[in-house]
């Protein structure tokens, strides 16, 4: 398959892409990293991996000894340049797969999975910029793969990340993001804290609103591509604000997850 940064030149269109094999395979758990109190990253060594695009996901399949199975999708957080695959998992209330992955899985276990999956919510440096990423909670995961990939590219691609979290403690990858933004003048990083903020918090308080988006999402003339990932209500709200701000709906890509309202 075409790997970003490889010899295949991709254009910034949605032309059909070469399909990867998505057979089930196993990977060895190399490490488990606690990101926040509710989130861990699982670092997998795949038996064979033909590469992925930032923004893609994998399906995980668990099998009990009586043959019972459960499958769920998890976004890939690692960039295609890395050999190990990082999946970031958030605890879901009553989630049988997330509780297994967070509470039971250990380093050295094998995990069955397949991928990469998802050929729409993807970005690589060959597609250029600017890009505006908007994350709600663990919706940061596929966007982190894009940012990690972007950091490794030589071209200074303008990017902004607007990241909404309940509190500072719930920001996943916070140290890495802060370092990235400090070292990179072409990256703008904005946190919006919705529930708790330190007394001296200079960042945005409350939900992401149209003014914050307008200020940090480039201009219409710059034709940014948007990648929005988070809970359904969050993604619905942000994408409709962007359409109202006059951005092209076809330049707005969304990925929704988690519990929703009806």
């Amino acid at each position: 398959m075409a790997i970003p940064g490889g010899s295949n030149v991709m254009t910034a269109t949605d032309a059909p892409l070469q399909q990867p094999s998505i057979a089930w395979q196993t990977g060895r758990v190399q490490a488990i990293v606690a990101e926040t109190s509710r989130v861990k990253s699982i670092i997998l060594q795949p038996a064979n991996w033909s590469g992925h695009w930032p923004g893609q996901h994998v399906d995980i399949r668990l099998t009990a000894d009586d043959g019972y199975q459960a499958e769920r999708s998890y976004s890939i957080a690692s960039p295609p340049e890395e050999k190990l695959l990082a999946l970031t998992v958030e605890r879901v209330e009553d989630g049988e797969v997330s509780s297994y992955l967070l509470d039971e899985l250990r380093v050295g276990d094998t995990l069955e999975f397949r991928g990469p999956i998802g050929w729409h919510f993807i970005w690589s440096q060959t597609r250029g910029g600017p890009i505006c990423l908007v994350a709600g909670g663990t919706g940061i995961t596929p966007l982190m793969a894009m940012l990690r990939h972007r950091t490794r590219s030589l071209a200074p691609i303008p990017a902004s990340l607007i990241y909404s979290a309940r509190s500072l403690a719930e920001i996943v990858y916070r140290d890495e993001l802060d370092t990235m933004a400090r070292d990179d003048r072409d990256l703008r990083l904005v946190y919006a804290l919705t529930r708790e903020h330190p007394g001296d918090w200079n960042g945005h308080r409350g939900r992401v609103n149209a003014a914050l988006l307008a200020e940090n999402s480039f201009t219409r003339e710059q034709n940014p591509t948007f990648f929005i990932c988070g809970p359904t209500g969050f993604v619905e709200g942000i994408s409709s604000m962007l359409v109202k701000l006059g951005f092209d709906p076809l330049a707005i890509r969304t990925e929704r997850f988690g519990p929703t309202g009806a």
Binding site: P16, A64, D65, Q69, Y100, E104, W119, T232, S239
Partner: protein, 205 residues
């Protein structure tokens, strides 16, 4: 891989009585998740039209009021999303594909395949045989209420026996095709047909 490896420490979840209605790999939700590739279009019914197309010609075209005046069907069905949730006993109202063909005076479908075209450029392909004989409708109401924009309102295709990405939201046009062509997700690695009971999620399943 012949036999999936057992996941150490993973316990079988007791099957619920509804378990028999769950296709393999699915879990039950009482919620109604939303999945789409871009923003939800805000479509006013006064601006809305829907068309049935054969080759370059129109078989039929309806405004909202005209479409509302067509024979209405109500069905109660289970729906299955490729992202693995299943929702039981959902109630939909709309115009069945059979009635739509009757209204335009087509006794037998002219081609073997249909492409559904939607606002925002989304498409999905289906065999005509999966739309006729009470298998599909264009739905305008969910649980008795107008279909919400996030769920495809004002009108979506409803083909409940296939994974739900085939039930295209914000439907604008159904086009008969002599030969099958992949739609949006079908050209991005998803299965061309999408039978939940055979777990046809991705190309090659």
């Amino acid at each position: 891989m012949d036999r999936p490896p057992v996941s150490r420490g993973f316990k079988s979840k007791r099957q619920t009585p509804e378990g028999a209605r769950l296709p393999p790999g699915q879990y039950l939700t009482t919620d109604f998740p939303v999945l789409s590739a871009g923003p939800t279009p805000e479509i006013r019914v006064v601006d809305w039209k829907i068309a049935l197309q054969l080759g370059g010609s129109l078989l039929g075209k309806w405004t909202w009021d005209e479409f509302e005046a067509l024979p209405q069907t109500t069905i109660t069905v289970d729906i299955h999303c490729v992202t693995k949730w299943t929702k039981l006993g959902t109630v939909w109202q709309g115009v069945s594909f059979d009635d739509l063909l009757k209204v335009v005076g087509v006794s037998e479908p002219p081609d073997a395949y249909v492409m559904a075209h939607c606002d925002g450029g989304y498409t999905t392909n289906l065999p005509v045989s999966d739309l006729v004989a009470g298998k599909a409708m264009i739905a305008t109401r969910y649980e008795g209420l107008p279909l919400a924009p996030a769920h495809g309102g004002p009108a979506r295709l409803l083909v409940p026996h296939l994974y739900f990405w085939k039930s295209a939201k914000w439907l604008r046009r159904l086009r008969f095709m002599p030969k099958d062509e992949p739609g949006f997700w079908e050209s991005r690695g998803y299965h061309n047909y999408g039978d939940p009971w055979r777990e046809q999620r991705y190309d090659g399943d």
